[in-house]
């Protein structure tokens, strides 16, 4: 579904991603772990071109989206993203947050979009918050709404950029539960996270990144119990 070839990203003189090759297949839940500064967020943000790769190619569903002539907006509709800081639109109600993109981008009529949002809100257990503004919600609620907002575009893949890192510990569970449910329904997901429990339980594949490269990858049970690379061993010994 997503094929990354020779992806390199520089910030000035600093090379953050060093010629990464990776494929993500439909229905996979790929969890990316690694120390901070290893390039995992940048890697994720390159997938929907929020960061423009310095060189290399991203192919999404058969289209080379790094090609300058491609209208990236059309492809981003199919790639939802959930951010560490939620990034809900504070001047809109929860309902408006979820319906704006379907209405404005896809041209779906308001009634239809609202029906879909109510269904999504019910699913994440926040039906009573439709008319609330984001600043009245807890972090966990905000992140669940952000997930619903991304889902409202019916994306083919969801990208999660440390979705639980800005949450109070007691709210991490409710967000992970929603993500687990999505995974069990076969949603293709790429998740950058520090939640090793989530990786172990839900991932179909875990990538360990360090210093701008994917150092090692394997199924979670293999990677966590038998890490091959010394840097993976070192990292896991510190976080587990």
């Amino acid at each position: 579904m997503i094929k990354v070839s020779n992806l390199t990203k520089n910030f000035g003189k600093l090379t953050v991603l060093k010629s990464i090759n990776e494929s993500i297949k439909k229905g996979e839940v790929v969890v990316v772990i690694g120390p901070s500064g290893s390039g995992k967020s940048t890697f994720l943000r390159c997938l929907n071109l929020l960061e423009e790769p310095t060189s290399g190619e991203i192919n999404f569903e058969g289209t080379s989206i790094t090609d300058k002539s491609v209208n990236i907006n059309l492809h981003r509709e199919k790639m939802g993203m959930v951010f560490q800081q939620f990034n809900l639109f504070p001047h809109m109600t929860v309902l408006e947050n979820i319906t704006i993109a379907p209405i404005k981008v896809k041209g779906i009529c308001k009634e239809e979009a609202e029906k879909t949002s109510h269904r999504l809100l019910k699913r994440i257990g926040l039906s009573d918050k439709a008319q609330s503004y984001p600043n009245k919600l807890s972090g966990g609620q905000k992140q669940r709404i952000a997930i619903a907002r991304a889902l409202a575009m019916s994306p083919d893949v969801l990208l999660f950029d440390e979705p639980t890192s800005a949450l109070d510990p007691e709210m991490v569970g409710e967000v992970l539960d929603v993500m687990k449910e999505l995974a069990s329904e076969g949603m293709t997901m790429v998740v950058v996270t520090h939640e090793m429990g989530f990786a172990r339980e839900v991932a179909s594949r875990v990538l360990f990144m360090d210093d701008g490269q994917i150092v090692e990858q394997n199924t979670p049970s293999q990677l966590f119990s038998h890490p091959q690379h010394p840097r993976t061993q070192d990292f896991l010994s510190k976080v587990l």
């Binding site: 907006n73 059309l74 939802g80 800081q85 639109f89 404005k104 981008v105 907002r149 991304a150």
Partner: protein, 216 residues
């Protein structure tokens, strides 16, 4: 001090005040429109566009309003555009104010967290659509106090358009000075009216701002 003339000529002050307020109001509207366009141009990644906006802003800030006013009032007929005096006045003050408003708006837009733009773009919204639906509505709320301040500045500075014969407060005051042969006292009346206008607007803005913050 003989204030007899007020009862005779209060109509002059009244219509002058109304014109001043109209002129200021439409100039703020026009200035905001010019300002939004200039601000977006300044934030553009295209160098020539950015340069054009910067050059305009620097020119306007670096030359007197009086000169700009004359340039427009006497210049437009040269290129075949004949505007009524009032419209020409509003046009000139708007173009001037736009340069200042542009900087206010640019600051407002840049104060919005960049995650907002990223969230909009990640949903498939274009840069333009995200600006219009997400960034500018939030920025606008932040810059409203500064815009209100600009309104007050324009009320005061609009006195200058009396030189091209627009019948606003200053012009009318001059008329009264002429008719009554009183060079001084009508100016006191004008000063008081200007002060009452600006003071009440600033009080009103203060209230509006507090109630908006309450809804946060």
């Amino acid at each position: 001090m003989d204030l007899e003339f007020i009862t005779t000529y209060y109509q002059f002050f009244l219509s002058g005040t109304i014109n001043t307020v109209l002129l200021a109001f439409f100039s703020v509207l026009g200035g905001t429109m010019v300002g939004v366009i200039l601000a977006l141009m300044k934030l553009s990644e295209k160098k020539p566009v950015k340069f054009l906006a910067s050059a305009y802003i620097e020119f306007v800030r670096g030359t007197p309003l009086l000169v700009q006013l004359f340039l427009i009032y006497y210049g437009l007929p040269h290129i075949g555009i004949d505007l009524p005096d009032m419209v020409a006045g509003i046009f000139a003050v708007s173009l001037n104010s736009g340069a200042y408003v542009a900087e206010i708006i640019r600051g407002g837009i840049q104060s919005i967290d960049k995650g907002q733009m990223e969230a909009g773009r990640s949903l498939g919204m274009s840069y333009k659509m995200t600006m219009k639906e997400v960034i500018i509505p939030q920025a606008f709320k932040n810059i409203l106090p500064a815009l209100g301040n600009e309104f007050i500045v324009i009320i005061k500075e609009s006195a200058i358009v009396s030189v091209i014969g627009i019948h606003e407060l200053m012009y009318k005051t001059d008329v009264v000075r002429g008719i009554t042969y009183k060079p001084f006292t009508p100016l006191i009346v004008a000063a008081i009216i200007y002060f009452v206008l600006t003071f009440s607007i600033s009080k009103f803005l203060g209230i509006a701002e507090r109630s908006m913050r309450a809804s946060d």
